[in-house]
């Protein structure tokens, strides 16, 4: 019993992480219909910037988002204006390849500035644990979960309560209709992309508290975030949260009878299976069931 509870809690915490990693991806896909293959690179750079601020300037990593968020928001806007904008009207594979190229460049930036050595952050907080009902929990993991949940709440509020947020939802539902309604679609693209990148960088910043990392960090996580987004149905943040929980539960319980090195196989298999069998994701299925 205790064992199952521990697994569940661990899975829940992991879900928080997976969800935070995937919001950016989901937003960019939902609004621009572009698959951000550079997501891994952004995660990685978010982690690096956080580490660097701690290593070179002794800035507490918990404060890093203050810099990371606006910095990467700007980066996202610039990237969208300069490159993404030009290929958005073409077949989706084109933007995929473009972002893949961007990912390579981002990796290089990391190698060039910080070399290929593994980095990790060591502060008292990062190493701290506490006990809850007999289960040992690491503070950073709980923090990441809470941060992830708060992010979801803020995002949902933004999308539903603000005018800009509603404009974003309109564009993601029907670009042309939104344009006709007077929405500056190009501006929405830039901002949404910027927010998406900032979110991923934020996730990377959180990740730096949990694991040591190097420039190729993000590759395996990238596939997991694809899996999460696909499971959750590609177009809603609640769906992402849902997909994250599904994946982390599948992994946590899969670990019971599978060697740890095969754990990533679960997300890969789920990704492919869901892509093929449930193009609208599990959330989409539930939605269509509700309609009947």
């Amino acid at each position: 019993m205790q064992d199952t509870l521990a697994t569940l809690i661990s899975a829940l915490l992991a879900a928080g992480l997976y969800a935070t990693m995937s919001y950016g991806l989901a937003l960019i896909y939902g609004v621009l219909k572009v698959i951000n293959l550079a997501n891994a690179g952004v995660l990685m750079l978010g982690a690096y910037v956080t580490w660097w601020m701690w290593d070179a300037f002794h800035v507490d990593p918990l404060l890093a988002p203050i810099v990371v968020l606006p910095l990467f928001f700007l980066f996202g806007i610039v990237l969208e204006r300069v490159a993404i904008r030009r290929v958005i009207e073409q077949e989706p594979i084109v933007s995929l390849l473009l972002l893949f190229g961007v990912w390579l460049i981002l990796q290089n930036v990391a190698y060039a500035i910080w070399t290929g050595d593994t980095r990790s952050i060591e502060t008292p907080f990062v190493e701290a644990t506490f006990k809850l009902g007999g289960i040992q929990l690491a503070w950073p993991r709980v923090y990441v979960f809470v941060a992830g949940a708060l992010t979801l709440a803020v995002l949902q509020l933004f999308l539903t309560k603000t005018q800009f947020g509603r404009a974003i939802r309109a564009v993601s539902q029907d670009r042309e209709a939104a344009r006709l309604a007077g929405i500056d679609v190009e501006r929405i693209y830039a901002v949404a992309f910027g927010i998406g990148i900032a979110l991923s960088a934020f996730a990377g910043s959180l990740l730096s508290l949990l694991f040591p990392f190097g420039p190729d960090f993000g590759g395996a996580l990238q596939l997991k975030s694809f899996c999460v987004v696909v499971l959750g149905g590609l177009d809603s943040f609640v769906g992402v949260a849902f997909g994250a929980i599904l994946l982390s539960l599948a992994e946590a319980f899969g670990l019971r009878w599978m060697p740890a090195s095969l754990q990533n196989l679960i997300s890969f298999v789920l990704l492919v299976v869901v892509l093929i069998a449930f193009p609208k994701g599990i959330a989409g299925i539930i939605r269509s069931l509700r309609r009947v």
């Binding site: 460049i105 596939l223 694809f226 090195s261 990533n264 890969f268």
Partner: protein
């Protein structure tokens, strides 16, 4: 006409190279790699370029071919026999994963292939009883460098020849139609699923054979070196940079790729900052943004200098 002569001269030159320069070991090595990459890039191009199905998981086939050669050679098979065996095994594997993956279109197919490639690597890593797990498999001996060179050259020539033949054939027209508009192709009688599966089969076979040559050369195969994502990336980058969907584009891309890799060894500055990543990344972005037909497309544009003729037809050339 001049192109054919130039081609003939180049081919002749490559054919006599080991005989003319028997002690140019380093050059022999570089050329071996260039032809091997050329074969690999051409193999990917049959699926990715001709039929437009961009796969980021092709390393799976290289890996299967490489391991097949390594394991069969260890079991006593002659090297030359292991190559087609590896190719066949890779092709059979493609029959397993192809049909479900082909139900996906465009970018979703690409993402699924990332998953499949990685999954294959993980299986290779964990199936220790067969593959030796992370420690990989070593081969005992390699043929002399000149022999390896001719094997690689022959492989490259064979794959390019096959690609050229396919492109002009009825099958090639089907692939071009699938690439352009699969639904319209169906209404004209092209069974797109079968066409794609056939293209994948051929692509996997060729890459599997190339995997054998890889194993022969490096004498060591491991899950990360053969099944790794970076291998998948390289077989995507080469044809795109050179000219996706063309016959010689992948070769051009392979030449550039080899040159850059070789520079990486030679130039400490380049290596220290891993600038090869940026070069490829920038090339990729540049091509996607400005000239999707790759370097060959840029040459073509320069040659035509804006003449109001029809752009190079990708099939009837």
């Amino acid at each position: 006409m001049y192109r054919l002569i130039a081609l003939g001269v180049a081919v002749f030159g490559f054919l006599i190279f080991p005989i003319a320069a028997p002690h140019a070991e380093y050059a022999l090595d570089v050329l071996f790699l260039m032809f091997l990459y050329g074969a690999m890039a051409t193999s990917w191009n049959v699926l990715g370029g001709f039929s437009g199905q961009v796969s980021f998981g092709h390393a799976a086939f290289l890996g299967i071919g490489a391991y097949a050669t390594a394991l069969l050679a260890a079991a006593g098979w002659p090297l030359w026999a292991t190559f087609p065996a590896g190719g066949l095994l890779a092709a059979l594997y493609s029959l397993l994963i192809g049909p479900p993956a082909f139900r996906l279109r465009g970018p979703y197919f690409a993402i699924a292939t990332i998953g499949i490639g990685e999954a294959t690597r993980l299986i290779a890593l964990n199936w220790s009883s067969l593959t030796g797990g992370a420690s990989g498999v070593t081969l005992s001996s390699a043929p002399p460098a000149a022999v390896q060179y001719y094997v690689s050259l022959g492989l490259c020539a064979a794959t390019v020849g096959a690609a050229a033949w396919i492109k002009r054939s009825r099958f090639g027209y089907a692939l071009a139609a699938v690439r352009s508009d699969p639904d319209a192709a169906e209404t004209l009688g092209v069974n797109t699923t079968i066409a794609k599966t056939q293209a994948l089969f051929i692509s996997a076979f060729m890459l599997g054979v190339a995997g054998g040559a890889y194993a022969m050369h490096y004498l060591y195969v491991s899950p990360d070196s053969t099944f790794g994502f970076s291998t998948s990336i390289s077989v995507v980058i080469m044809p795109i940079i050179g000219g996706i969907g063309t016959i010689f584009g992948p070769l051009l891309g392979a030449a550039i790729f080899t040159a850059l890799r070789e520079q990486l060894e030679a130039n400490p500055f380049l290596a220290k900052y891993s600038l090869d990543l940026s070069v490829f990344g920038l090339l990729l972005c540049g091509i996607v943004l400005f000239e999707p037909r790759g370097l060959l497309g840029i040459f073509d544009r320069l040659v035509r200098r804006g003449a109001a003729r029809a752009p190079k037809d990708s099939v009837t050339q």
